[in-house]
Point group: C2
Chain length 499, copies 2
């Protein structure tokens, strides 16, 4: 019977392409980061919301950051009633649906935070997953730049709550209206018709770090051929417009007041441009009053944010390395989050404008950057293991585990298969520092043996069987059962000091 | 232009059928429950794992609890490479895939916990959602009943960590081997061929509460016609087998030792049955040693658990109401979680047996039951609101918010649209208790006005404009800005006492 069963075709155990199983250490780091962000969001008065994974496809719309790439998309399926449903690709589009659906019942502004998986049906690659976690806060029904200033401070506070010190992060703020002002002055109309051209300009500026001014100039003009020979069509700006755009992207300085003066001059008579400067001025007033100086927040005209839906102030939260560049400025590690004003998202559903602004960060990306910077707290202490010497003493073993847990010490009785040798191999693989052993003799004497596995690791490797092991007794101590919590605490403290 | 835009067909804002948006209070209750469970799982030495939402359909298999219902299923779609992927319907099947895929690298036993959304493509109904959160712990590679005893204690500890007292919950333990023993003695073979018949028997017993002994007897025999005239085919047991099964389901008592004696006699010479009794005996030994008495855990032979994949001990964690039935026993509210031994799940992928046992609870179901029992902690204190009297003072308003947050008091500056009247309506909708007001006069004097909105609610309703409101000054107090944290603390404390 069982031989026949073994011949049955078995499924191959493999996870789908582009998805990941998250390890314990990374999960703990991510959970700590989300908890830190939630505590900041709560302190600002935001309320939690959780929307479902699915939305109807038409309600979700199409606001993907990379919607120019052909293989970009969503995971969609037909529901029973023949409507198309899709898994959310971010947390902003479902928020817009939620606000429109519940508009009359919600307080205005509606301020919510949410963390959760989002899905992108893209070609997977190294470090590029099709499911990842975002963590957002948004104020919906908040028209003024004061709400944007709040988002910038929120982003800075999340960086600090994640454990970063001054100098390890920077929030860089720009305003879409400034670029619109420059383009307006350069003859690119701020209308639906000019939307695609404006997106091309944004994408070109976004490549400034990688391609330099010349490469970006080509992309702003006719187009650019890269090293591989691939040709990217350009935004077709004329020479003076290209010069104006490039001049704008390098107009900022670490001094926010100086930057505002420069921008005010650059924007000239453009209504859009001067409105953008006025918003940044208000943001600067509030940041300065609240002590967010240029060590935490700067204006940076090279920041664009890929998404087409931003309509006003935009910002990015960046990690900085401890090393400095030639000019003595800290080297950028990269953006881990960002946000800005998106006044059009809810009005997609409604007859009225619902101005909104928000902040979002990628949890895995941020957590792994923190880990690369050595800023993730040590992994959880491995549990103390109670070995099973004698199965007739299982009740006593579990009682010991319970006593330790009551004293906030992680503890587990070995519930697998195998003798003490196998049990100690398991303990080694788990990183267990202390093992507790008790046979019937010890049980009668009211004693236990506590073995320091870290100390005894080398010796233990040479040991063949239980008997020899018990006689050699490396790095171990006998304690009264009544005294077990104190004895374990003392040995754990000693072991931590050694680490 | 904008008139034309308004004529554009807008998508309707609605969430897909069978999915829910979770409110702030319910989310906070769920998050607290998951955090409580995680802290128990950690204390037992389990490690966190997060698998992706998707699995390949063949790896997921088909172990749904209600796989006899025609409209039950998963959400599946074709991937680019033409393999079928499906969203996970529980956390156990992905665990089996994970263990099989990483078998050689994992410590044995592998002990993990996980919480996350699962999806069922079922007909939605009231309180029946197509996405919900499960929270699981499993020991894989754990053959003995000691591992099952640990799961039972874990379940009881989660109930206690959720805030339940003795008498408010009960863990009920049974063993599949006992029923197999009864069926074996009654001529139902314990083979693949008898699998469907055994499932019919399990489903019939599961309806004992609802249909009573006569109804279940009909389902164990030829079949049963319900009030609506629908006919359910029976398990076709003969009269003596029906009697044996019904006798078994009522064989348990609140005294665990008595129940074991009764069961030992009932099982007679059945190898399976006696093995089941021996496992329960070991579980009783461990529970008794660790002080889990019949006030927390009983043996209950009417517990079956719907899932076909259980192979040994099974258990349910039930909430009990404060009201008693005629016999003075607490009334059952219902099962919020359960688990048991599932030795076959990983071996689907592998040539070898990988014995495993686990516990799982439905987060929403448990949290809403706690809420019905009045056991959910009060909602988060609403933030203190700083009104915007004068937009030139925004920097000062945000500074006050920052001071309060630094003292662990939630605070927000009003960032919406509207005068102080609208701002106070917003505060009312949010449940804000204190509003802080400061005009330029107060600013110059270094003072703020703190208004107790709870106290002043009735009066505020009659107030027409800011001027009148400022003159009437109901339930409010003037404080020095330097003293603001202490003043707010004092008024919040007073407001809490009133509630």
């Amino acid at each position: 019977m069982s031989k026949n069963k073994n011949k049955i075709q078995r499924p191959k155990a493999r996870k789908p392409r582009g998805f990941e199983d998250k390890s314990a250490d990374m999960l703990r780091a991510e959970n700590r980061l989300v908890a830190a962000a939630f505590s900041v969001y709560e302190s600002y008065g935001f309320e939690p919301l959780q929307t479902p994974a699915f939305e109807y496809a038409d309600a979700l719309g199409k606001f993907l950051p990379d919607d120019d790439r052909p293989n970009t998309g969503v995971f969609a399926l037909h529901d029973d009633d023949e409507q198309w449903m899709a898994l959310r690709y971010d947390l902003t589009a479902p928020l817009a649906r939620f606000v429109a659906e519940n508009y009359n019942d919600l307080p205005k502004p509606y301020r919510r935070y949410q963390a959760g998986s989002v899905w992108r049906n893209e070609k997977p690659g190294p470090g590029r997953f099709r499911e990842f976690i975002q963590c957002d806060a948004d104020s919906v029904g908040a028209p003024g730049a004061a709400a944007d200033a709040e988002m910038v401070m929120l982003a800075a506070d999340v960086m600090a709550a994640a454990g970063l010190d001054t100098g390890q992060y920077m929030v860089r703020v720009n305003n879409r209206k400034l670029l619109d002002g420059i383009l307006e002055s350069s003859g690119v109309p701020n209308t639906e018709a000019g939307a695609e051209q404006r997106l091309q300009v944004l994408r070109a500026i976004d490549k400034l770090d990688r391609l330099g001014a010349d490469g970006v100039a080509a992309l702003l003009g006719e187009g650019r051929k890269d090293e591989s020979g691939d040709y990217t069509d350009g935004a077709k700006l004329d020479v003076s417009a290209i010069k104006a755009v490039l001049g704008f992207t390098t107009a900022s300085d670490t001094d926010r007041c100086e930057t505002l003066k420069t921008l005010e001059a650059l924007m000239g008579t453009s209504t859009q441009g001067q409105a953008g400067v006025a918003e940044l001025k208000l943001i600067d007033d509030i940041l300065t009053a609240c002590d967010y100086g240029p060590g935490h927040v700067v204006f940076d005209t090279s920041i664009v944010r890929g998404l087409g839906y931003y309509t006003g102030p935009v910002f990015e939260a960046e990690l900085l390395a401890d090393i400095k560049d030639k000019k003595g400025r800290p080297v950028r590690i990269g953006s881990v989050g960002g946000g800005g004003r998106h006044d059009g998202l809810v009005s997609r559903f409604m007859g009225q404008q619902v101005p909104a602004t928000g902040y979002s960060f990628g949890v895995s990306r941020f957590a792994s950057a923190l880990s690369r910077m050595g800023l993730v707290e040590g992994a959880e202490q491995a549990p103390v293991m109670i070995c099973v010497f004698d199965t007739s003493l299982l009740g006593a073993y579990f009682t010991i585990a319970r006593q330790l847990r009551a004293a906030n010490i992680r503890a587990e009785v070995f519930v697998g298969n195998g003798n003490v040798g196998k049990q100690l191999k398991y303990a080694d693989k788990r990183g267990v520092k202390l093992a507790i052993l008790m046979g019937s003799d010890e049980m009668e004497r009211g004693e236990v043996t506590i073995k320091d596995l870290e100390l005894g690791a080398e010796m233990a490797k040479a040991i063949k069987d239980d008997k020899e092991w018990r006689e050699s007794r490396p790095a171990q101590k006998t304690a009264a059962r009544s005294d077990i919590v104190a004895a374990v605490r003392e040995m754990l403290a000693h072991s931590r000091k050694m680490a």
